[in-house]
Symmetry: C2
Protein backbone atom coordinates (compact mmCIF):
# COMPACT_ATOMS: atom_id res chain seq x y z
CA UNK A 1 0.00 0.00 0.00
CA UNK A 2 1.85 3.15 -1.14
CA UNK A 3 1.43 5.52 1.79
CA UNK A 4 4.80 7.35 1.84
CA UNK A 5 5.39 9.94 -0.84
CA UNK A 6 8.28 8.90 -3.08
CA UNK A 7 9.65 11.78 -5.15
CA UNK A 8 8.75 11.49 -8.84
CA UNK A 9 12.42 11.50 -9.86
CA UNK A 10 13.02 8.50 -7.58
CA UNK A 11 10.06 6.68 -9.11
CA UNK A 12 11.55 7.11 -12.59
CA UNK A 13 14.79 5.48 -11.40
CA UNK A 14 13.15 2.41 -9.83
CA UNK A 15 12.68 0.59 -13.19
CA UNK A 16 16.35 1.27 -13.97
CA UNK A 17 17.44 -0.33 -10.68
CA UNK A 18 15.07 -3.22 -11.33
CA UNK A 19 16.59 -3.88 -14.75
CA UNK A 20 20.11 -3.85 -13.25
CA UNK A 21 19.05 -6.11 -10.35
CA UNK A 22 17.47 -8.66 -12.70
CA UNK A 23 20.71 -8.71 -14.73
CA UNK A 24 22.69 -9.30 -11.51
CA UNK A 25 20.34 -12.10 -10.46
CA UNK A 26 20.68 -13.75 -13.88
CA UNK A 27 24.47 -13.63 -13.48
CA UNK A 28 24.06 -15.49 -10.18
CA UNK A 29 24.88 -12.58 -7.84
CA UNK A 30 23.14 -12.79 -4.45
CA UNK A 31 24.20 -9.45 -2.97
CA UNK A 32 25.07 -6.07 -4.44
CA UNK A 33 26.71 -2.96 -2.96
CA UNK A 34 25.11 0.43 -3.51
CA UNK A 35 28.25 1.35 -5.50
CA UNK A 36 27.88 -1.64 -7.84
CA UNK A 37 24.15 -1.02 -8.26
CA UNK A 38 24.90 2.66 -8.90
CA UNK A 39 27.46 1.82 -11.54
CA UNK A 40 25.13 -0.69 -13.26
CA UNK A 41 22.31 1.89 -13.25
CA UNK A 42 24.27 5.00 -14.24
CA UNK A 43 23.22 6.81 -11.03
CA UNK A 44 25.49 7.97 -8.18
CA UNK A 45 25.59 5.72 -5.13
CA UNK A 46 24.31 8.31 -2.62
CA UNK A 47 21.19 8.70 -4.79
CA UNK A 48 20.76 4.91 -4.98
CA UNK A 49 20.87 4.63 -1.17
CA UNK A 50 18.43 7.54 -0.77
CA UNK A 51 16.00 6.14 -3.36
CA UNK A 52 16.03 2.67 -1.81
CA UNK A 53 15.54 4.12 1.67
CA UNK A 54 12.06 5.27 0.52
CA UNK A 55 11.29 1.56 0.09
CA UNK A 56 12.50 0.88 3.63
CA UNK A 57 15.58 -0.82 2.20
CA UNK A 58 18.93 0.09 3.76
CA UNK A 59 21.23 -2.84 2.96
CA UNK A 60 23.73 -4.32 5.38
CA UNK A 61 27.05 -2.61 6.06
CA UNK A 62 29.92 -4.48 4.38
CA UNK A 63 27.49 -6.80 2.57
CA UNK A 64 25.14 -4.58 0.60
CA UNK A 65 21.63 -5.41 -0.52
CA UNK A 66 20.10 -8.85 -0.99
CA UNK A 67 19.44 -8.95 -4.75
CA UNK A 68 16.34 -11.18 -4.75
CA UNK A 69 14.72 -9.33 -1.86
CA UNK A 70 15.43 -5.95 -3.44
CA UNK A 71 13.89 -7.17 -6.73
CA UNK A 72 10.80 -8.10 -4.73
CA UNK A 73 10.70 -4.73 -2.94
CA UNK A 74 11.16 -2.64 -6.09
CA UNK A 75 8.65 -4.76 -8.05
CA UNK A 76 6.08 -4.43 -5.28
CA UNK A 77 6.64 -0.68 -5.04
CA UNK A 78 6.20 -0.30 -8.80
CA UNK A 79 3.02 -2.38 -8.68
CA UNK A 80 4.53 -5.11 -10.84
CA UNK A 81 3.40 -7.88 -8.50
CA UNK A 82 -0.12 -7.23 -9.80
CA UNK A 83 -1.42 -8.24 -13.21
CA UNK A 84 -1.91 -5.19 -15.46
CA UNK A 85 -4.00 -5.66 -18.57
CA UNK A 86 -2.83 -3.41 -21.40
CA UNK A 87 -3.89 -2.82 -24.96
CA UNK A 88 -1.90 -1.53 -27.94
CA UNK A 89 -3.63 0.75 -30.43
CA UNK A 90 -2.11 0.87 -33.92
CA UNK A 91 -0.42 -2.10 -35.54
CA UNK A 92 2.10 -0.48 -37.84
CA UNK A 93 5.73 -1.54 -37.50
CA UNK A 94 6.02 0.05 -34.06
CA UNK A 95 2.83 -1.54 -32.71
CA UNK A 96 3.92 -4.91 -34.07
CA UNK A 97 7.37 -4.43 -32.54
CA UNK A 98 5.75 -3.66 -29.16
CA UNK A 99 3.41 -6.67 -29.44
CA UNK A 100 6.48 -8.89 -29.93
CA UNK A 101 8.95 -7.02 -27.66
CA UNK A 102 10.26 -9.47 -25.07
CA UNK A 103 11.27 -6.80 -22.56
CA UNK A 104 8.02 -4.86 -22.85
CA UNK A 105 5.31 -7.01 -21.42
CA UNK A 106 7.28 -8.99 -18.94
CA UNK A 107 6.81 -8.55 -15.17
CA UNK A 108 3.16 -8.04 -14.48
CA UNK A 109 2.05 -6.69 -17.84
CA UNK A 110 -0.25 -8.58 -20.16
CA UNK A 111 -1.38 -7.54 -23.64
CA UNK A 112 -5.10 -8.23 -23.51
CA UNK A 113 -5.97 -6.77 -26.90
CA UNK A 114 -4.59 -5.10 -30.02
CA UNK A 115 -6.61 -2.53 -31.98
CA UNK A 116 -6.39 -1.29 -35.54
CA UNK A 117 -8.70 0.25 -38.13
CA UNK A 118 -7.32 -1.78 -41.05
CA UNK A 119 -9.94 -4.45 -41.98
CA UNK A 120 -7.13 -6.67 -43.31
CA UNK A 121 -5.54 -6.77 -39.84
CA UNK A 122 -8.70 -6.97 -37.72
CA UNK A 123 -9.74 -10.56 -36.95
CA UNK A 124 -6.19 -11.92 -36.94
CA UNK A 125 -3.82 -12.47 -34.02
CA UNK A 126 -0.30 -11.24 -33.23
CA UNK A 127 1.78 -13.28 -30.83
CA UNK A 128 -1.46 -15.01 -29.75
CA UNK A 129 -3.32 -11.76 -29.00
CA UNK A 130 -6.45 -10.92 -31.04
CA UNK A 131 -6.49 -7.88 -33.32
CA UNK A 132 -9.81 -6.08 -32.79
CA UNK A 133 -11.65 -3.28 -34.51
CA UNK A 134 -11.37 0.21 -32.98
CA UNK A 135 -15.19 0.21 -32.77
CA UNK A 136 -14.91 -2.39 -29.99
CA UNK A 137 -12.43 -0.36 -27.92
CA UNK A 138 -14.80 0.91 -25.23
CA UNK A 139 -16.51 -2.48 -24.78
CA UNK A 140 -13.27 -4.51 -24.59
CA UNK A 141 -11.59 -2.06 -22.18
CA UNK A 142 -14.48 -2.60 -19.75
CA UNK A 143 -14.88 -6.37 -20.29
CA UNK A 144 -11.15 -7.10 -19.95
CA UNK A 145 -10.53 -4.53 -17.17
CA UNK A 146 -7.75 -2.94 -19.23
CA UNK A 147 -5.82 -0.37 -17.14
CA UNK A 148 -3.13 0.90 -19.51
CA UNK A 149 -3.46 1.97 -23.13
CA UNK A 150 -0.41 2.09 -25.41
CA UNK A 151 -0.73 4.48 -28.37
CA UNK A 152 1.29 3.47 -31.45
CA UNK A 153 -0.78 5.18 -34.15
CA UNK A 154 0.48 7.98 -36.47
CA UNK A 155 0.78 11.43 -34.85
CA UNK A 156 -2.35 12.79 -36.53
CA UNK A 157 -4.58 10.12 -34.98
CA UNK A 158 -3.03 10.03 -31.50
CA UNK A 159 -5.15 12.69 -29.78
CA UNK A 160 -8.38 11.08 -30.98
CA UNK A 161 -7.22 7.70 -29.68
CA UNK A 162 -6.24 9.26 -26.33
CA UNK A 163 -9.69 10.87 -26.04
CA UNK A 164 -11.38 7.52 -26.73
CA UNK A 165 -9.18 5.72 -24.18
CA UNK A 166 -10.10 8.30 -21.53
CA UNK A 167 -13.80 8.04 -22.40
CA UNK A 168 -13.51 4.26 -22.09
CA UNK A 169 -12.29 4.77 -18.51
CA UNK A 170 -8.54 4.28 -18.96
CA UNK A 171 -6.45 6.52 -16.70
CA UNK A 172 -2.91 5.50 -17.71
CA UNK A 173 -1.65 6.11 -21.24
CA UNK A 174 1.74 5.42 -22.80
CA UNK A 175 2.23 7.46 -25.98
CA UNK A 176 4.75 6.51 -28.68
CA UNK A 177 3.47 9.02 -31.26
CA UNK A 178 5.86 12.00 -31.62
CA UNK A 179 3.22 14.54 -30.61
CA UNK A 180 2.11 16.28 -27.39
CA UNK A 181 -1.27 14.96 -26.17
CA UNK A 182 -3.78 16.63 -23.87
CA UNK A 183 -5.50 14.53 -21.21
CA UNK A 184 -7.80 15.57 -18.35
CA UNK A 185 -6.49 15.80 -14.76
CA UNK A 186 -6.28 12.41 -13.08
CA UNK A 187 -5.08 10.66 -16.23
CA UNK A 188 -1.40 9.67 -16.18
CA UNK A 189 0.32 10.21 -19.50
CA UNK A 190 3.88 9.11 -20.22
CA UNK A 191 5.64 9.50 -23.52
CA UNK A 192 8.40 7.51 -25.14
CA UNK A 193 10.42 9.70 -27.49
CA UNK A 194 12.69 7.45 -29.50
CA UNK A 195 14.87 10.40 -30.59
CA UNK A 196 15.87 11.71 -27.12
CA UNK A 197 18.68 9.23 -26.58
CA UNK A 198 19.96 9.80 -30.11
CA UNK A 199 20.23 13.53 -29.41
CA UNK A 200 22.18 12.84 -26.20
CA UNK A 201 24.59 10.67 -28.20
CA UNK A 202 25.04 13.52 -30.70
CA UNK A 203 26.04 15.81 -27.81
CA UNK A 204 28.80 13.44 -26.66
CA UNK A 205 29.89 12.65 -30.21
CA UNK A 206 30.29 16.37 -30.88
CA UNK A 207 32.26 16.79 -27.65
CA UNK A 208 34.56 13.89 -28.59
CA UNK A 209 35.22 15.44 -32.00
CA UNK A 210 35.93 18.82 -30.37
CA UNK A 211 38.33 17.27 -27.86
CA UNK A 212 40.04 15.39 -30.68
CA UNK A 213 40.41 18.64 -32.63
CA UNK A 214 41.86 20.34 -29.54
CA UNK A 215 44.31 17.46 -29.03
CA UNK A 216 45.39 17.55 -32.68
CA UNK A 217 45.59 21.35 -32.54
CA UNK A 218 47.68 21.13 -29.36
CA UNK A 219 49.94 18.54 -30.95
CA UNK A 220 50.45 20.76 -33.99
CA UNK A 221 51.09 23.81 -31.80
CA UNK A 222 53.70 21.88 -29.80
CA UNK A 223 55.34 20.73 -32.99
CA UNK A 224 55.40 24.27 -34.33
CA UNK A 225 56.88 25.65 -31.10
CA UNK A 226 59.43 22.87 -31.22
CA UNK A 227 60.33 23.86 -34.78
CA UNK A 228 60.79 27.46 -33.73
CA UNK A 229 62.76 26.58 -30.63
CA UNK A 230 64.88 23.43 -31.13
CA UNK A 231 66.11 23.71 -27.53
CA UNK A 232 62.58 23.33 -26.14
CA UNK A 233 61.71 19.85 -24.90
CA UNK A 234 58.63 18.80 -23.03
CA UNK A 235 59.36 17.25 -19.64
CA UNK B 1 32.65 24.42 -29.53
CA UNK B 2 31.70 22.79 -26.19
CA UNK B 3 34.25 24.12 -23.73
CA UNK B 4 32.18 24.49 -20.54
CA UNK B 5 31.27 21.33 -18.67
CA UNK B 6 27.51 20.80 -18.66
CA UNK B 7 26.35 18.28 -16.04
CA UNK B 8 25.21 14.98 -17.58
CA UNK B 9 21.73 15.33 -16.03
CA UNK B 10 21.34 18.72 -17.74
CA UNK B 11 22.40 17.21 -21.07
CA UNK B 12 19.67 14.58 -20.79
CA UNK B 13 17.07 17.36 -20.31
CA UNK B 14 18.13 19.42 -23.35
CA UNK B 15 16.29 17.17 -25.88
CA UNK B 16 13.17 17.46 -23.71
CA UNK B 17 13.35 21.28 -23.78
CA UNK B 18 13.99 21.15 -27.52
CA UNK B 19 10.90 19.04 -28.12
CA UNK B 20 8.77 21.47 -26.05
CA UNK B 21 10.27 24.50 -27.80
CA UNK B 22 9.56 23.07 -31.26
CA UNK B 23 5.96 22.44 -30.19
CA UNK B 24 5.70 26.07 -28.99
CA UNK B 25 7.17 27.37 -32.27
CA UNK B 26 4.69 25.27 -34.27
CA UNK B 27 1.87 26.82 -32.23
CA UNK B 28 3.18 30.24 -33.25
CA UNK B 29 4.61 31.29 -29.85
CA UNK B 30 7.58 33.66 -30.09
CA UNK B 31 8.56 33.87 -26.42
CA UNK B 32 8.28 31.50 -23.48
CA UNK B 33 8.71 31.98 -19.73
CA UNK B 34 10.86 29.55 -17.76
CA UNK B 35 7.67 28.53 -15.93
CA UNK B 36 5.84 27.68 -19.16
CA UNK B 37 8.86 25.82 -20.54
CA UNK B 38 9.18 23.98 -17.22
CA UNK B 39 5.54 22.97 -17.31
CA UNK B 40 5.76 21.79 -20.94
CA UNK B 41 8.91 19.77 -20.12
CA UNK B 42 7.88 18.28 -16.78
CA UNK B 43 10.89 19.89 -15.02
CA UNK B 44 10.80 22.55 -12.30
CA UNK B 45 11.46 26.11 -13.44
CA UNK B 46 14.57 26.71 -11.30
CA UNK B 47 16.18 23.70 -12.97
CA UNK B 48 15.17 24.99 -16.42
CA UNK B 49 16.82 28.36 -15.73
CA UNK B 50 19.96 26.68 -14.36
CA UNK B 51 20.21 24.26 -17.33
CA UNK B 52 19.78 27.05 -19.88
CA UNK B 53 22.34 29.21 -18.09
CA UNK B 54 24.99 26.61 -19.07
CA UNK B 55 24.17 27.55 -22.67
CA UNK B 56 24.67 31.22 -21.86
CA UNK B 57 20.92 31.74 -22.12
CA UNK B 58 19.27 33.79 -19.36
CA UNK B 59 16.04 35.11 -20.90
CA UNK B 60 14.67 38.62 -20.37
CA UNK B 61 12.89 39.58 -17.16
CA UNK B 62 9.14 39.88 -17.74
CA UNK B 63 9.45 38.53 -21.30
CA UNK B 64 11.14 35.14 -21.03
CA UNK B 65 13.17 33.40 -23.69
CA UNK B 66 13.03 33.93 -27.44
CA UNK B 67 11.71 30.57 -28.70
CA UNK B 68 13.49 30.49 -32.09
CA UNK B 69 16.82 31.63 -30.66
CA UNK B 70 16.60 29.10 -27.82
CA UNK B 71 15.84 26.32 -30.35
CA UNK B 72 19.01 27.39 -32.18
CA UNK B 73 21.08 27.43 -28.97
CA UNK B 74 19.87 24.05 -27.71
CA UNK B 75 20.26 22.46 -31.17
CA UNK B 76 23.79 23.81 -31.48
CA UNK B 77 24.69 22.62 -27.98
CA UNK B 78 23.36 19.13 -28.75
CA UNK B 79 25.32 19.07 -31.99
CA UNK B 80 22.14 18.87 -34.09
CA UNK B 81 23.28 21.66 -36.42
CA UNK B 82 25.70 19.11 -37.88
CA UNK B 83 24.79 16.21 -40.14
CA UNK B 84 25.13 12.89 -38.30
CA UNK B 85 25.18 9.74 -40.43
CA UNK B 86 23.62 6.79 -38.62
CA UNK B 87 22.99 3.16 -39.45
CA UNK B 88 20.37 0.75 -38.10
CA UNK B 89 21.32 -2.88 -37.58
CA UNK B 90 18.48 -5.38 -37.56
CA UNK B 91 15.33 -4.97 -39.65
CA UNK B 92 12.73 -6.77 -37.61
CA UNK B 93 9.57 -4.86 -36.69
CA UNK B 94 11.50 -2.49 -34.41
CA UNK B 95 14.23 -1.74 -36.96
CA UNK B 96 11.57 -1.13 -39.62
CA UNK B 97 9.65 1.11 -37.21
CA UNK B 98 12.84 3.12 -36.54
CA UNK B 99 13.62 3.37 -40.27
CA UNK B 100 10.16 4.88 -40.79
CA UNK B 101 9.85 6.84 -37.51
CA UNK B 102 9.22 10.50 -38.33
CA UNK B 103 10.49 11.87 -35.02
CA UNK B 104 13.63 9.74 -35.03
CA UNK B 105 15.81 10.99 -37.81
CA UNK B 106 14.73 14.59 -37.96
CA UNK B 107 17.06 17.41 -36.89
CA UNK B 108 20.54 16.57 -38.07
CA UNK B 109 20.25 12.79 -38.23
CA UNK B 110 20.40 10.85 -41.47
CA UNK B 111 20.00 7.09 -41.94
CA UNK B 112 22.88 6.26 -44.27
CA UNK B 113 22.45 2.49 -44.25
CA UNK B 114 20.39 -0.39 -42.88
CA UNK B 115 21.94 -3.79 -42.14
CA UNK B 116 20.47 -7.25 -41.81
CA UNK B 117 21.62 -10.85 -42.21
CA UNK B 118 18.43 -12.03 -43.95
CA UNK B 119 19.24 -12.57 -47.68
CA UNK B 120 15.59 -11.82 -48.53
CA UNK B 121 15.91 -8.33 -47.04
CA UNK B 122 19.45 -7.50 -48.23
CA UNK B 123 19.47 -5.67 -51.57
CA UNK B 124 16.14 -3.94 -51.02
CA UNK B 125 15.45 -0.46 -49.70
CA UNK B 126 13.33 0.86 -46.79
CA UNK B 127 12.13 4.45 -46.96
CA UNK B 128 14.72 5.01 -49.71
CA UNK B 129 17.67 3.68 -47.69
CA UNK B 130 19.51 0.57 -48.94
CA UNK B 131 19.44 -2.65 -46.90
CA UNK B 132 22.99 -4.05 -46.85
CA UNK B 133 24.59 -7.28 -45.74
CA UNK B 134 26.24 -7.34 -42.31
CA UNK B 135 29.44 -8.44 -44.08
CA UNK B 136 29.71 -4.92 -45.52
CA UNK B 137 29.32 -3.18 -42.13
CA UNK B 138 32.97 -2.21 -41.56
CA UNK B 139 33.47 -0.98 -45.15
CA UNK B 140 30.24 1.09 -45.27
CA UNK B 141 30.83 2.69 -41.84
CA UNK B 142 34.17 4.02 -43.11
CA UNK B 143 33.00 4.97 -46.63
CA UNK B 144 29.89 6.81 -45.38
CA UNK B 145 31.55 8.28 -42.26
CA UNK B 146 28.82 6.81 -40.06
CA UNK B 147 29.09 8.14 -36.48
CA UNK B 148 26.20 6.49 -34.66
CA UNK B 149 25.09 2.85 -34.77
CA UNK B 150 21.54 1.89 -33.74
CA UNK B 151 21.17 -1.73 -32.55
CA UNK B 152 17.73 -3.26 -33.17
CA UNK B 153 18.68 -6.95 -33.33
CA UNK B 154 17.47 -9.65 -30.89
CA UNK B 155 19.12 -9.63 -27.44
CA UNK B 156 21.31 -12.65 -28.17
CA UNK B 157 22.98 -10.96 -31.15
CA UNK B 158 23.36 -7.46 -29.67
CA UNK B 159 26.80 -7.80 -28.02
CA UNK B 160 28.31 -9.24 -31.20
CA UNK B 161 26.89 -6.32 -33.23
CA UNK B 162 28.20 -3.82 -30.66
CA UNK B 163 31.68 -5.38 -30.88
CA UNK B 164 31.63 -5.12 -34.67
CA UNK B 165 30.47 -1.48 -34.55
CA UNK B 166 33.32 -0.61 -32.19
CA UNK B 167 35.84 -2.46 -34.38
CA UNK B 168 34.51 -0.54 -37.38
CA UNK B 169 35.39 2.69 -35.55
CA UNK B 170 31.96 3.76 -34.26
CA UNK B 171 32.09 5.42 -30.84
CA UNK B 172 28.38 6.16 -30.26
CA UNK B 173 25.88 3.32 -29.96
CA UNK B 174 22.13 3.41 -29.29
CA UNK B 175 20.88 0.02 -28.08
CA UNK B 176 17.23 -1.04 -28.30
CA UNK B 177 17.84 -4.69 -27.38
CA UNK B 178 16.69 -5.44 -23.80
CA UNK B 179 20.16 -6.53 -22.67
CA UNK B 180 23.17 -4.87 -20.98
CA UNK B 181 26.08 -4.42 -23.42
CA UNK B 182 29.78 -3.99 -22.67
CA UNK B 183 31.77 -1.44 -24.65
CA UNK B 184 35.35 -0.19 -24.22
CA UNK B 185 36.08 3.19 -22.55
CA UNK B 186 35.60 6.10 -24.93
CA UNK B 187 32.55 4.54 -26.58
CA UNK B 188 29.24 6.22 -25.66
CA UNK B 189 26.44 3.73 -25.15
CA UNK B 190 22.82 4.76 -24.55
CA UNK B 191 19.96 2.37 -24.15
CA UNK B 192 16.27 2.74 -24.90
CA UNK B 193 14.21 0.47 -22.66
CA UNK B 194 10.66 0.47 -23.95
CA UNK B 195 9.33 -0.98 -20.68
CA UNK B 196 10.63 1.73 -18.29
CA UNK B 197 7.75 4.16 -18.91
CA UNK B 198 5.21 1.35 -18.63
CA UNK B 199 6.57 0.46 -15.19
CA UNK B 200 6.30 4.10 -14.10
CA UNK B 201 2.65 4.10 -15.23
CA UNK B 202 2.04 0.95 -13.18
CA UNK B 203 3.36 2.78 -10.11
CA UNK B 204 0.90 5.65 -10.51
CA UNK B 205 -1.95 3.34 -11.49
CA UNK B 206 -1.37 1.36 -8.30
CA UNK B 207 -1.29 4.56 -6.26
CA UNK B 208 -4.57 5.74 -7.82
CA UNK B 209 -6.25 2.42 -7.00
CA UNK B 210 -4.97 2.62 -3.41
CA UNK B 211 -6.23 6.19 -3.02
CA UNK B 212 -9.58 5.17 -4.48
CA UNK B 213 -9.79 2.29 -1.98
CA UNK B 214 -8.98 4.70 0.86
CA UNK B 215 -11.66 7.15 -0.35
CA UNK B 216 -14.26 4.39 -0.65
CA UNK B 217 -13.23 3.05 2.75
CA UNK B 218 -13.58 6.56 4.20
CA UNK B 219 -16.96 7.03 2.55
CA UNK B 220 -18.19 3.74 3.94
CA UNK B 221 -16.89 4.60 7.41
CA UNK B 222 -18.69 7.95 7.30
CA UNK B 223 -21.89 6.24 6.22
CA UNK B 224 -21.57 3.71 9.03
CA UNK B 225 -20.96 6.42 11.62
CA UNK B 226 -23.95 8.30 10.21
CA UNK B 227 -26.08 5.18 10.59
CA UNK B 228 -24.95 4.74 14.15
CA UNK B 229 -25.47 8.42 14.99
CA UNK B 230 -28.39 9.92 13.05
CA UNK B 231 -27.67 13.32 14.62
CA UNK B 232 -24.22 13.46 13.11
CA UNK B 233 -23.90 15.56 9.96
CA UNK B 234 -20.80 16.47 8.05
CA UNK B 235 -20.29 20.20 7.72
Amino acid sequence: MPSRQIPEASVTRLPVYLRALVDLAERGDHTVSSEALASASGVNSAKVRKDLSYLGSYGTRGVGYDVEYLIHQVSRELGLTQDWATCIIGLGNLGLALAHYGGFFARGFRVAALFDIDPYKVGGTVNGTPVLDMDDLERIVKEDSISIGVIAVPSGAAQDVADRLVTAGISSILNFAPVVLQVPPGVSLRKVDLSIELQILAFYEQRKLAEQAVREGTARTKLESYDRDPEHHDA
